[in-house]
């Protein structure tokens, strides 16, 4: 691999990672459920772009496979499934979040800073895309934060998926070829199961509490 190629790839990956971060910030402020799902699809698209770029520059076929899996799973199938779920339940908006959007944006800025600070020792390992590790940590933290800040079960799962995207990015940025294929497949399978459970659970919660607001779950406590 010659040097200009490497730099080009590096620039491309950083660009895509930045876009992922921007999309994530948009999600933090966005309250419409459908828009949130679309934003997640866009973020996953960028992620699969990163994976494809890594695969292309390293000529690693199994990373291609991962990119394709991301594209199929997270860009097409999951958003379609979630949208259908949202339409069925008939809820369009997230309820009032705990923390209002401007403060949330500030906090997320803080997480990004923290991510970069933590990622500093790994920044110059020379891997392709190693400088995106900070973004990856920031994505994980923001996903977590989003999960806490939202009340609907669906948006919480969406937040979990975002955090998973962050993990995927971290795997790409820390190692040369991403995680081993088996691990990635396992993670995908986990997500698949999680979605199945969610699909069933959301109906159950609504049937029991006439709401899918997770606040009410504390009534289950003995």
């Amino acid at each position: 691999m010659n040097l200009p190629d490497f730099q080009l790839a590096s620039h491309l990956i950083v660009l895509l990672a930045t876009l992922m971060l921007v999309v994530q910030l948009l999600m933090v402020t966005q309250r419409m459920l459908i828009t949130n799902i679309r934003l997640f699809a866009v973020q996953s698209l960028f992620l699969s772009g990163i994976a494809a770029a890594v695969a292309f520059f390293h000529h690693a076929p199994h990373v291609y496979f991962m990119a394709a899996l991301t594209l199929a799973g997270k860009v097409v199938v999951l958003p379609w499934f979630l949208k259908r779920l949202v339409r069925k339940i008939g809820i369009e908006q997230e309820m009032h979040p705990w923390i209002n959007p401007p403060t949330a944006m500030l906090l997320c800025g803080g997480f990004t800073l923290l991510g970069y600070l933590v990622a500093r020792p790994f920044a110059d390992t020379g891997n392709l895309g190693s400088n995106t590790f900070g973004v990856a940590i920031a994505l994980v933290l923001m996903g977590f934060f989003l999960m806490i800040n939202r009340r609907r079960a669906i948006t919480q799962v969406l937040a979990l998926l975002c955090a998973e995207n962050g993990l995927f990015l971290a795997a790409i940025s820390l190692t040369t070829y991403g995680m081993p294929l088996v691990v990635e497949l396992g993670v995908f399978f986990d997500l698949f199961i999680a979605m199945m459970v969610l699909g069933i659970l959301v109906y159950r919660i609504r049937a029991t509490f006439a709401s899918i607001d997770v606040d009410r779950l504390n009534q289950l406590k003995g």
């Binding site: 923290l114 600070l117 806490i148 779950l217």
Partner: protein, 682 residues
Amino acid sequence: MEGLPMLLLTLTLWGYVIGALAGLLCWQREKLANLLSFGSATLAALGGLGASVVCLVGDATSFSIRWDFLESAVPYLKFSVRLDPLSAFFLLIVSSLGLALSIYSFGYARGFYGRTKVGVLGAFYNALLLATTFVFIADNAFFFLVSWELMAMTAYFLVTFEHEQPEARHAGVLYFIMSHIGTGCIILGFLLLFQASGGYGFIGFHALGERMSAGRRDAAFLLFLAGFGVKAGIVPLHIWLPAAHPVAPSNVSALLSGVIIKSGIYGLTRVYFDFLGTPPLWWGVTLLVVGSVSALLGVLYALMDHDLKRLLAYHSIENIGIILMGLGAALMFQHANHPLLGAMALIAGLYHTINHALFKGLLFLGAGAVQHAAHTRNMEELGGLIKRMPRTAFFFLIGAVAISALPPLNGFVSEWLTYQSLLQGFGATGSLTRLIFPISGALLALTGALAAACFVKAFGITFLAQPRSVQAERAHEASPTMLAGMALLAVACVFLGLFPNQFLPLFDPLTDQLLGVQISRQLAAPGGIVLSSLGLEAGTVSTLGITLTAVCLLPIPLALWIFFGRAAARQTGMTWACGQKTLTPQMQYTATGFSKPLRIIFKALFRPHRAVQAEFEFSPYFARTIRFESHIEETFEARIYRPLQRFILRTSRRMRALQAGSLQAYLIYIFVTLLLLLILTL
């Protein structure tokens, strides 16, 4: 020599197993269950007795027979049993008491016919004996703990056997909690030993203390003291004992007080003398202090209690204290490198262990017969039973004399040995800590006197004078098997009292194993009937001699009476009637009244509380009703356990706020932890 004890012991273990199974299988046919389970237990106990006697009598040197009882697939856990002198000695205790109790139980269990399931009682009774036997012969820390827990569990089921009564359930829960605290300490102690030895076999633990660092050794000492102390019932870990022992069926109470609490003594002896090596001075001092305090407080609380069985339970605390005094003195002598004195103190402690098993068993059986006949344990409702159950009264009296350490019975012999070792300790050791010997000797003397006072009360109020209730009036003599069980123990008490020199050689292999010396020849003075404390000039006593002298002197008062007494004019009146025509039970001395002087003397400890409420008709001289209430403070419950309980409840209530049931809250916990960890890495 090896084959016979092994065979007998195997038969014993299987005997208990068969007894337990038989009890469960024929629980619908009460008589058959009674016969099979207790019959099996009788034979099994006989086998155990044979095995231990063959071992202890056969050879004076220390021996050790070891084999695997069952194959085990679990690593570290080996079902290996070993019969060494210490095990054999405790096997002797459990078997001899088990024999008497099983015979007694034939008659006693008949009282449960139609009320509760006799088969279940028999099954648990056998299981308890089996577990206790395993505790004494286990040769592996894991196996020991398994047996230990099995013993605790079966004892729990027996304590709550009459579970219709809330009292029994509460006592059971208390016992369960305390027992588990103790077991936790023991497990930690064994883990410390495991770290040093790398295995769980008891053989690998031998003299392990020399290879441990001082801190770990001290930690192990304290952990084992707390762990086995709970089971033994040392103050202040004793609170389960007066609650649990009275509510169990009486044959089980006798087993609990006679043997189960001795498993704590066995554990302490095994660990301190076999495992932990030469002790530092403060171990012995601690044990001696704990023993003295337990002895004194035990007897003081016993004096204040008017429940016959609870009184006996408090006396168990007292006697455990006396045993610990012997063990503590032995540890101090071991530190000072006086093996002979150490052996004497150890023998004193262990002699008292078997004595206490015998006479406390006897007393509990007597109390059980009383409860069986009069349906109450409250002494204030008893009285006059000596006329209705004379044989029971006689056996109870023998037990009372023995526990009060009056010559010539066995309690006297072991307490005399304890005194001797304490008194000689002052001269034999150097530092200022030797002052503790005469002090604890004085406390032992005080304890003995108070115990005698307490049994004057127990026997006098229960058996003498007039019955205080209808139930006591209708009491009847115990059945022949019950009397036979008591008689067996009474004979053993008399034998151990009159012939200590014949019994002491049994300790030779034991002291040889633990301390490397044999002193039964030094203790037995020439002539065979005089007991000396290591040399004639140090102090001697002969219980047989005292008895023979008393018998020889008997003609003198008889002659005096014949010569002078018959001549005098005689008038017969009612005893202590003070000229009154009739005596009613209300005029009798009550147990409360009898113990009043001591309640006043030890006011600081008991904090007696009394309240009188009276309603008057028209003038203060004519009361319509008077309500009198008097009780003493349960110091340890009120000062230690209740604050502790409140603290635990309060803390848990605060911690429960963490468990909000809100998903977000749980997420925040995780998130904050994650953030903190990330920030820490910066």
